[in-house]
């Protein structure tokens, strides 16, 4: 999206090369506003680039396709400079804008920017918890991200190496619990668990699927989708599993079902949930003056137009792909629309 009223003064630093950062960068580029993306990992795309397609017999509108071409567009866009393996060391407020000290690989760069967008995404609690429970060797315990990679690598005939007969989804794993310091709902797991369940049933129609859930967060659009869920072979048990253990290769879940303690083995257990704040949120808050809320996510103190520091994506709390893209595009629009004087919305 090229338009001619680009503003030579504007130059934006974007922390995080995931869906939010790239969308913001592309929107800014539409207004000929250059941006620099700092990506801590060696490759662009963050988590969403690894997400798999959740289309069973037909598309379940999960939103992954919104980012289909984004990565190529960013890599080909000369308005966007991508610095991989790099992070922000220090940031100083200048008369107009900021000067940032960036560690990129082994060398250090000092650059000035007019605005900053924090888009460093989230921490996947389940992946860490899996290592904590030393289950990462086991093939049959999957985190949300493992499931997404399996969906991504699937072929026309095969989703898992061997067809599972019993799959369990453990929802709110690492959310809505004071113990894991996450007293909030991660909001996306009900969506991707039910959608991926339909894909599993598409590949393996006889596979039995059980959901351990607290409250299904299905938006109205999804509730039409939920009707497909009450077919034989799909079970919903409203409880949080007491313990998940791995004996031999089959994971076992101990749970309480209407007053009775039950133990059941499954071929695959998928731990869904746990969008936790990114570890560098605290440092970013110190550098930019934004506040860390009670759950560890960042939030505005003063309106971003004043401070020229914007938030996009899960840095400010769990968001779906759709909301992340909308917010990132909104941030890009607002940076571009601000007139030069002093940040009053044009």
């Amino acid at each position: 999206m090229k338009s001619e009223h680009g503003d030579p003064m504007k130059n934006v630093l974007i922390i995080g090369g995931g869906l939010a950062g790239c969308t913001a960068a592309r929107t800014l580029s539409g207004f000929d506003i250059p941006s620099v993306i700092l990506e801590s990992s060696p490759s662009l795309g963050g988590k969403v680039r690894q997400f798999g397609c959740k289309s069973g017999s037909s598309c379940s509108q999960c939103g992954v396709c919104a980012a289909g071409n984004l990565w190529d567009e960013v890599e080909r866009d000369e308005n966007i400079t991508i610095l991989l393996d790099s992070s922000l060391i220090d940031l100083r407020k200048e008369a107009c804008g900021f000067s940032a000290y960036i560690k990129s690989g082994s060398d250090f760069i000092e650059k000035s920017f007019s605005d900053i967008v924090l888009a460093n995404g989230f921490l996947d609690y389940a992946s860490n918890a899996k290592t904590a429970l030393d289950m990462d060797r086991s093939e049959s315990i999957l985190t949300g991200m493992d499931l997404e990679r399996a969906l991504y690598r699937r072929t026309a005939s095969e989703l898992f190496a061997e067809p599972p007969k019993k799959v369990a989804y453990v929802l709110c794993f690492g959310s809505r619990s004071v113990k894991e310091k996450a007293n909030y709902c991660s909001r996306v797991c009900c969506g991707y668990s039910t959608r991926s369940a339909k894909v599993i049933r598409h590949y393996y129609p006889e596979c039995e699927i059980t959901f351990f859930y607290m409250d299904m967060q299905t938006t109205n659009a999804l509730s039409a989708f939920m009707q497909d869920m009450n077919e034989p072979g799909i079970r919903f048990i409203r409880c949080r599993p007491a313990r998940i253990t791995v004996n031999g290769n089959d994971p076992e879940i101990i749970y309480e079902d209407s007053g009775v303690l039950a133990r059941e083995t499954f071929d695959k257990v998928i731990l869904c949930g746990g969008i936790h704040p990114n570890s560098d949120n605290v440092t970013l808050s110190d550098l930019t003056g934004l506040r860390v809320d009670e759950n560890g996510f960042l939030e505005y103190v003063k309106p971003p137009e004043k401070t020229h520091v914007y938030l996009a994506g899960c840095v400010s709390g769990p968001k779906s792909i759709r909301e992340t893209v909308a917010e990132a595009r909104d941030v890009g629009l607002r940076i571009a629309q601000i007139s030069e004087q002093d940040g009053i919305l044009a």
Binding site: K2, C65, G68, A326
Partner: protein
């Protein structure tokens, strides 16, 4: 710049003044027919007016109702009665519950399941709990209404409870279904039985399946939110006006036989019979360059202005045994990620629907095998492009079979960029077949 406000919601006036001081000239269209007529030239904003119980929205009214109750009587707020109460209504309920509880009154919130999907909903929960609001998840509920007091019987699957209350708030909201007439008049695509802006491609509030047509449910959005959505629509309209829209259809008037096929098949309603012209005309800000009209036009009178070089010209490269017409929204991206360059000549197309039988037939003269790779059902950005493609493939297969050429030389696959290996093993087993 002119825009059109369609629909007659009580808040149309408020929205009209918002756009007026954003510098737009606002026309009003009270009926779907007027909206259709005016949609030729100007962006249209459909204003829906779903109805939320006044008790939840109007603070003044709520205060008056609460004041009228005798002090100690509990208040009951009932959700999920017929349909699932959406999360933004939960936000209103919780704020109102806190307001009532502050007046030292016991409040029950009854629901089938707790919704936590709205931004900041957890905060409202903890606040409500702090004020002593009781949440009960029920399986069955029945209400007996007798003049001032109503008795609510709740069964949560384990035990039953009866509450007498002078204030029973049914928090159901009625959706504005009249909007669907506008959707039909303006040829919008509706999703999941009636939602017209759950469009995942444009991913911003207010957009519909057609560029230049927006939708606001003024009944739902609270003032702060409403302004935010109106703002993003205003930006969008300004942006669209000055932005060049990328590839768009161009019609050669000499060839156009005015047969309306393109008008009927265009998923975005971008073609209209401009009476001054001799042929069908294209509304550039609505056309999204999908090419469905190019394939459908029996007079071969339509082309896309400039195919962005990213999609590449058609390089005929005989060394490769296979050519793959790939939808640029799915298969072309998948091909780039998984197919090494040497085995398939990938030709990106804007949408499966733009593939023409003559292209497939011509390709068969140069290649051993032709793949048509399009999006999954329901994922097509242009709604039925993938189905149009499958019909073209079917037809060509019949023609080939009649002159005893193996119809299986044409393959039709559906995938998305996020399942690229479907492309990979399609090519593999084709390659082993070639060995």
């Amino acid at each position: 710049m002119k825009i059109v406000l369609a629909g007659n919601s009580v808040r149309t006036g408020l929205i009209k003044s918002f756009f007026e001081n954003e510098g737009f000239e606002v026309l009003l269209a009270g009926t779907p027919k007027e909206a259709k007529a005016s949609s030729d030239g100007y962006p249209v904003i459909i204003v829906g007016s779903s109805v939320i119980p006044g008790f939840l929205i109007d603070d003044g009214y709520a205060q008056r109702v609460i004041a009228g109750l005798e002090p100690k009587a509990p208040a009951v707020m009932l959700l999920d009665r017929e349909t699932e109460t959406p999360s933004f209504i939960w936000d209103l309920v919780l704020k109102r519950a806190v307001g009532i509880a502050a007046g030292k009154r016991h409040v029950y919130v009854l629901a089938r399941s707790v919704r936590t999907e709205f931004p900041g909903l957890e905060r409202s929960y903890s606040k409500a709990r702090a004020h002593g609001v009781t949440f009960i998840k029920y399986e069955k509920v029945s209400v007996v209404q007798n003049d001032a007091v109503s008795a609510v019987m709740i069964d949560d699957g384990v035990m039953t409870l009866e509450i007498e209350t002078p204030l029973l708030v049914d928090c159901a909201y009625t959706e504005d279904r009249s909007v669907l007439e506008y959707a039909e008049a303006l040829r919008l695509h509706t999703y999941d039985g009636g939602l017209i802006n759950a469009d995942r491609w444009f991913l911003s509030p207010g957009r519909t399946s057609r560029r230049g047509v927006y939708y606001i449910d003024a009944g739902l959005a609270m003032s702060a939110q409403l302004e935010k959505i109106l703002l993003s629509i205003a930006d969008e309209i300004r942006l669209m006006a000055e932005m060049d829209v990328g590839p768009a259809a161009k019609i050669d008037p000499r060839k156009c036989a005015f047969c309306y096929t393109c008008f009927r098949l265009c998923p975005h309603g971008a073609l209209y019979p401009d009476d001054s012209a001799v042929s069908m005309s294209v509304r550039h800000n609505y056309c999204s360059g999908c090419g469905i009209c190019v394939s459908a036009c029996p007079a071969n009178a339509i082309e896309l202005t400039e195919r962005s070089e990213a999609s590449g010209k058609r390089q005929t490269d005989h060394s490769k045994g296979t050519v793959a017409f790939c939808c640029e929204n799915s298969a072309a991206i998948a091909a780039r990620t998984v197919l090494p360059d040497n085995c398939v000549n990938v030709i990106p197309i804007p949408c499966g629907g733009s593939i023409r039988a003559s292209q497939i037939a011509a390709a068969l003269r140069e290649y051993e095998r032709v793949i048509v790779a399009v999006c999954n059902d329901g994922a097509c950005k242009h709604f039925d492009g993938n189905k149009l493609a499958s019909r073209q493939v079917e037809r060509i297969r019949e023609e080939l079979a009649s002159i005893n050429i193996d119809p299986q030389r044409i393959m039709y696959i559906q995938l998305s960029h996020a399942m690229p290996n479907v492309m990979h093993n399609m090519v593999d087993n084709e390659r082993n077949r070639a060995l």
